[in-house]
């Protein structure tokens, strides 16, 4: 049985939209970070789907998604570190209170 | 063609000084000063070499052409990309050579004048040399792109030099400076883009070829109205720099607030870039339109002369007097341009050089007076000739040069500018000549009151010039007198260049 490419894409879309919604609306920075991970994974899903069902199927897409995961892991590490540093200084993890650049 | 790299060397030699300064610890004040001052000798010596090697019988020379940037603009029939090349093009002719030399001389002397600077010397000299690069570049650039690049490059260091090392209201002055010049640059950029888009070239020589030759196929792309619009845009853009009434108020603030060496540079060179641009780009490319516009040039020139002169008679601050006098003197440049004949152009270029030297001299002295007395208000000064005979004597000589005393450079330039204008618009010229009386009035009023008359007791013990101060004064005065006595030193290199500007203009029937 083969699952059609549209299903992959649909899942990815849903995942991306959930992530986007979270990133734009949640006040807790941790959740925002999680949501960003969701979006990245949606992209990964797309990459893998096209690696198999694309016009020129190749392994490149899968390798690329591996890279993305690595980078995402690093990014989360940095993100959390920044978050903790901020929390220590400002005692908050609320995104809408983080507007030092504007002040 | 063999590339001549001398101009590039002159232009970018300050870069070397900047690098050296960056690696000098900022505590080594003496070393920084020495490097900063001696560094300016590098371009000066090379400029003098250039002057010595200048071929009077040739027009554009010391040419350097290199490929630089390629902008893809589309596909040709074969499907391969076509590029528009922006080249790195430098060169110099009789009109820009005197100004380049002037820049080198003033650059060195103003650096000597910076000896008195006290704060943040390393940054000061780095910015100063950056400014030098911009000024040298403007006078040697041979295409619109480079010209604009260097023209803009001068803004940044001046902004900081003014904003950090200026007097009390320095930040305001710096902002005003940037605001005005930014507007001017924006207009300039638009005009340049318009020219480029229509004619597909930015090279000065090619542009002049295309624009002044009605048979050229590209020439038809620009209607006379379009050209007129471009000329007026250029007039406004460069007019802000010059400055032309009513765009002058930024320049007053700069003159009052900037530290003396920066004012020297500013009034001696930076203002001249406006006039140079107007001649090189405005009048050179659009002679017909300039001719049409020449009555307005004369009118603006007259307004400048009288507005500056009348206001200078009521100022209380010496710096303000000099600032308004710069406005007045730049009016004379416009009159020279308005004449649209070789005598007038020559007068205008003479006036650029002459005013550069004279205003540098006068501002330098005002700086020294400030250094000694802590004031530049005319009524608070007086009688300082008793204790500072040398400075006062040079000040008086400079003032006399400024009011156009024969035997000094100011006379030759004003005489030629007026003489040229008499050939074209006698009435305007006669009115302009009356301006000389006003010049006399304000110059004498300011100088005599500030320097002569009874000596107040608090001004009886002032030190006369130190060697570091005497050098610039003597050199400047010497050059002023040299040009006044033997003007051929400046006029001979000009002749060939005037040929390339004037026939086009006089061909119209002027």
């Amino acid at each position: 049985m083969t699952v059609p490419v549209t299903s992959y894409l649909l899942v990815a879309l849903i995942l991306f939209c959930v992530g986007l919604y979270g990133a734009l609306t949640k006040r807790n920075a941790v959740i925002v970070l999680l949501s960003i991970e969701l979006m990245l994974n949606a992209v990964n899903l797309n990459l893998i789907a096209f690696a198999k069902f694309g016009l020129h199927p190749a392994i490149t897409g899968q390798i690329f998604s591996l890279f993305t995961m690595t980078v995402a892991a690093a990014e989360v590490a940095v993100g959390i570190a920044v978050l903790i540093a901020l929390y220590r200084n400002r005692e908050t993890v609320n995104v809408d209170e983080m507007d030092t650049m504007k002040r | 063609m063999v590339n001549n790299t001398l101009l590039s060397l002159i232009t970018f030699s300050p870069l070397l000084v900047i690098v050296v300064l960056m690696f000098t610890p900022k505590q080594m004040v003496g070393t920084i000063k020495t490097i900063g001052v001696l560094g300016t000798l590098l371009p000066l010596i090379m400029s003098l070499m250039l002057f010595a090697g200048f071929d009077y019988s040739a027009g554009l020379q010391f040419i350097e052409r290199r490929d630089w940037i390629k902008i893809p603009i589309g596909l040709d029939q074969n499907g391969s990309l076509t590029f528009f090349p922006i080249r790195y093009e430098m060169g110099i002719d009789g009109a820009s050579m005197p100004l380049l030399l002037l820049t080198a001389i003033i650059g060195t002397l103003a650096a000597v004048g910076s000896w008195q600077m006290k704060r943040r010397l390393r940054e000061y000299f780095i910015l100063y040399h950056l400014l030098l690069i911009g000024m040298f570049g403007v006078f040697s650039a041979q295409n619109l792109f480079l010209f604009f690049l260097f023209f803009e490059l001068t803004l940044i260091p001046v902004y900081f030099l003014l904003g950090i090392w200026g007097y009390a209201e320095r930040e305001r002055a710096a902002n005003k400076f940037l605001l005005y010049n930014g507007i001017g640059s924006a207009i300039l950029l638009l005009a340049f883009i318009a020219i480029f888009v229509q004619l597909q070239t930015v090279n000065f020589g090619e542009l002049q070829q295309v624009l002044t030759n009605p048979d050229d196929p590209l020439s038809g792309y620009l209607s006379p109205e379009y050209r007129y619009g471009l000329f007026v845009a250029l007039f406004i853009a460069f007019g802000i720099k010059l400055p032309i009434f009513p765009f002058h108020s930024w320049m007053l603030n700069v003159h009052v607030q900037a530290p003396p060496p920066v004012v020297m540079i500013h009034s001696a060179i930076l203002l001249k870039m406006g006039a140079y641009g107007l001649l090189r780009i405005g009048i050179n490319f659009f002679p017909d339109q300039a001719y049409e516009f020449s009555v307005w040039l004369a009118v603006f020139g007259l307004i400048n002369i009288f507005y500056g002169a009348v206001l200078a008679t009521v100022q209380k601050d010496l710096k303000m007097v000099l600032a308004y006098s710069s406005i007045s003197h730049m009016g004379m440049v416009l009159l020279g341009f308005a004449a649209m004949n070789s005598i007038g152009f020559q007068g205008a270029i003479f006036q650029l050089v002459s005013h550069g030297l004279i205003s540098a001299l006068l501002f330098f002295i005002v700086g020294v007076i400030w250094d000694r007395t802590g004031t530049s208000t005319i009524t608070e000064l007086g009688g300082i000739a008793k204790s500072m005979p040398f400075i006062s004597g040079v000040f008086l000589a400079g003032a006399l040069a400024s009011l156009g005393l024969p035997g000094m450079s100011g006379f030759i330039s004003e005489f030629l500018a007026l003489m040229g204008l008499f050939g074209a618009m006698p009435l305007h010229a006669a009115i302009g000549a009356i301006g000389l009386i006003f010049t006399t009035i304000y110059v004498l009023r300011a100088v005599l009151r500030a320097v002569y008359g009874p000596t107040p007791s608090r001004l009886t013990r002032l030190a006369d010039a130190q060697p570091m101060e005497a050098i610039p004064l003597v050199v400047l005065l010497g050059v002023i007198i040299l040009i006044g006595i033997y003007p051929a030193v400046l006029s001979d290199p000009l002749q060939k260049t005037l040929d390339s500007i004037v026939p086009v203009v006089t061909g119209i029937g002027g």
Binding site: - | L311, L400, M419, F422, A488
Partner: protein, 637 residues
Amino acid sequence: MDTILHYAWLIPLFPLFAFIVLVSFGRQLRGGASSVGILAAALSCVLALVIGWQSYQGAASEKVLVEWMNIRDTVIRVGYEINSLNAMMLVIISVVSLLVQIYSKEYMRDDERVPVYYQYLSLFAFSMMALVLSPNLLQLYIFWELVGVCSFLLIGYHFSKPKAMLAAKKAFIVTRIGDVGLLIAIILLFWWTGSFEYSEIFKTVALGKMEPWMTTLTAVLIFVGAVGKSGQFPLHTWLPDAMEGPTPVSALIHAATMVAAGVYLVAATYPLFLDSQTALDIVAYTGGFTAIFAALIGLTQTDIKRVLAYSTISQLGYMMLALGVAGAIGYTAGVFHLFTHAFFKALLFLAAGSVIHAVHTQDLFQMGGLLKKMPVTGIAFLIGCLAIAGIPPFSGYWSKEEIISAVYSAQRADLLWIAVITVFLTSFYMFRLFFLTFTGKAVSQAISRAKDPSAVMRIPLLVLAVLAVLSGFLNMPFAPLLENWQLAGDVGESIHFAMPEAAELHAPWLSVVSVLVSLAGIVLAYLIYVKKAIAATWIARPLPWLYRLSNRAFYLDEIYRYGLAVPLRGIGMLLDLFDHYLIGGLVQLAVKLANGLGGLHARLQSGQMQTYGLIVLLGIVLLLIGITTQGGVSFGQ
């Protein structure tokens, strides 16, 4: 014939060299400074005398030119020219300059800035000599301005005195007004004749290539220059104030040489004037009016130097009058009077200087009885007075007589009246001056202690006194040596060309009348100030306003101040406000506008990262919608 005229260019170079030496080493030289100046002046004096003699002998005039500046096809040349007129001027300048420099050595002995003084004097001598040697108008203008600057520097020599400073400033500005006229004339002549050279200009004029109105205009503008420099009405106000300078300077610059430059200028460009009757009339009437106007003011001045200053103005007016009535005789008369006046006026000033040096006041009413104390000075002054009053056989008689007969020949009754009345006024105020200073009783301690100056000051006085007596014999009606000399050159030829019929009407009775009128003036002065037979106030009491009018120089200074200087300042103040508030205000408006726009923009930047994200999202969505409805984008082909 190898003439020494080839070396004429050396004459101005001696003082120039002295100037350079004094500028460079003046402070080290101190007392030696005067010697440097005097030596240079003596050298040029000798050379000038030799050249004057040769020129008088009929040596051909000489002209040498070198290129100075090119403006494409226009070549401007400089050089020098010797002809009879400027050879004569050279003699005057170098002689008076030498005598004044010798005199100054003693007069300025106690001054601290002697080197500076001699710098200025040498620079002046150089400029003045170079001025008369100039072969073209541009070069003349250059030195014309330079002598003006020297005059300015020397008037303001005592710079810590505010009065001296103001006088210097005034002199510069007022003469500058005239200079601008001259400058315009020079440029206009250039555009019409294509040259600055006198000879070229005269040629063009003689060929009738100039429009008559242009000839008139340029001649009048040249005359405006002369008016400024020679202190003619209405630009004369600077000259009396110029007396703030040291007295020897007044003798040299403001009596003998520089102020005569205006007369010289008109004489040098005379062919131009001959072509325009209007211009000549303007010259004649301005000269005549100035002569009588200044004489009227001179009547009531109380400062010894101011009286002399007004008499200088008046005499210069006389010269202009002579030039203006035209013809060979008018020209010679004007030039001749310039020649004699230089000597007797320098004499008067130097004598006055000796008096001031001795009594330390310039107020006439603080003096008196000085003849006994200072006999040499007194006699010298008397000779000067007799010369200026036109009493035979003193020099002034011959030149003045010639002017009057020139006016008579031209049949100008109005001008003749002016000339004769001025003769009366002149002799009256000069002898008023003499009697008040030298006769009567000493009124103060200083006067009783006064004595004749030392030899250094006496010798120039004596030489000038001799010249004031003798110089008139150069041109007596029956032996017109000067006339023959002066009319030998190009200018003379063109005068004969322009006025072939300028026959002189000889009227011996006129000479008698003018001498009688002059004697009447002296007698009146004697009756009032020595015999006291007539009260000095016999006019002033019934008509006080008349006295005040004369004493205050017809309020011309005040008129200029309130009519020109104050309004100018007012306009300046108004414009300053305009500049500050309107233009500055516009700038402020622009700044506010920019700030406002920026503020508006800033409000979009909430600092909320999530809002930005939302906006980006919306942007992408819009972009996608756009692309989709437009049919998509094709990449590559």
